[in-house]
Point group: none
Chain length 225, copies 2
Amino acid sequence: MSNPVKILLAEDEPALGQIVKESLETRNFEVILCENGIEAYESYLKNKPELLVLDIMMPKKDGFTLAEEIRKKDMHIPIIFLTAKSQTKDVVNGFQLGGNDYLKKPFSMEELIVRIHALLNRSQKQQKDNIILGEFTFNYTKQLLIDEEEQQSLTHRETELLYHLIQKQNEVLDRSEILKKLWGDDDFFNARSMDVFITKLRKKLKKDQNIQIINVRGLGYKLIC
Amino acid sequence: MSNPVKILLAEDEPALGQIVKESLETRNFEVILCENGIEAYESYLKNKPELLVLDIMMPKKDGFTLAEEIRKKDMHIPIIFLTAKSQTKDVVNGFQLGGNDYLKKPFSMEELIVRIHALLNRSQKQQKDNIILGEFTFNYTKQLLIDEEEQQSLTHRETELLYHLIQKQNEVLDRSEILKKLWGDDDFFNARSMDVFITKLRKKLKKDQNIQIINVRGLGYKLIC
DNA sequence: AACATGTGTTAACGAGTGTTAACCGGTTAC
DNA sequence: GTAACCGGTTAACACTCGTTAACACATGTT
């Protein structure tokens, strides 16, 4: 395994917080425990966790408010709410703030762990694999471009580039932005190198005429399909 | 805001259906919940929703069959499938008629909402595409001007300029406004550059004599057709 | 160690796109 | 009427990007 997944846990009741923390740590998660919403927000900024487990009822700042603030910084981080109340209304309220899942207290550790795994798998994998692109299916982790007839393998650079193009499908992907992200710097040579990869991708995508990588002079590229 | 987007939700498990329905309603969608495929098809005919969220495993008529039937009526309506883990790939890969996505159960509300917005945006963007202009069909994202005989490709600048002219069809498009929008500044050189593009567009549009870009001295241009 | 293979970078030339320049005609203001 | 102005058109130009191939480097194989 690579380095452990960082989880931010906000829970005001120390006994419960400690038990959950330790229990998650035995499963190879790194857990940062905070006792109220304000502390949790600061810790979020500092530690950049991959997933949040937030109690709703907390002193100083409740879990909903906290989630709302954090969502402004990160649209996609998975959030699990812990709630003592069992009414749908609160749950719905939580979803509205971009919560991904919720658990009613009292809950079992098993339940929590299942949900954590479910959300982590999704945020990492599912969105990147088996993306349908015209005739093709693009698999990011396997670096493959599949159609009925054949299966083309892509190099790492091709994969990354195509992935970013797909993320901005039908819009312009900024040249400079992608150069900085994949090559680390927007200079002359990297730019020429990128042109070469665009050519390679066009070649591999040419089977489906409806898919095209259009250049927008001075701005970047647009993947249409 | 205009009137809410109507979504047809077909889900046989009442508890899940209800929570998704309510959750979507708090996001200003209008949701029609159906408990099986037959009911859903009737509701589709009656209510004309803009988007479908279909569970695949349903009693009486499964989501896949339902989608096939609805596709015969509407080639373009966006469909999101909800699938249990085991089915996903084959079923959805086999179903490649445009505007589809799928979510594995269990899914989070946030994911569903992100995908709904993505598909709705796409279908809205398609309104920019295939605009009929006299003899021609103008496709914004593909940067094409099509008639029966041929297919002319436009550059990015030509496309943007024509698009804005079309938006103000038969009215005057202000020179200064368009210069600021496309060139960033209304100065002498940009103005001359724009004149060149007007010439180019006129050339590409000359096949249909009824379409004309008329200059309104001191104010701007007027696209008549 | 020698070789083959795969991946990404650099080089060279050609094509496409947008800008600038030059020349022209028509309109407006004095 | 004529000078100033605005826009039309064409061509030259500069710059960006496309494409191919040669090259460099790393990794794996015998």
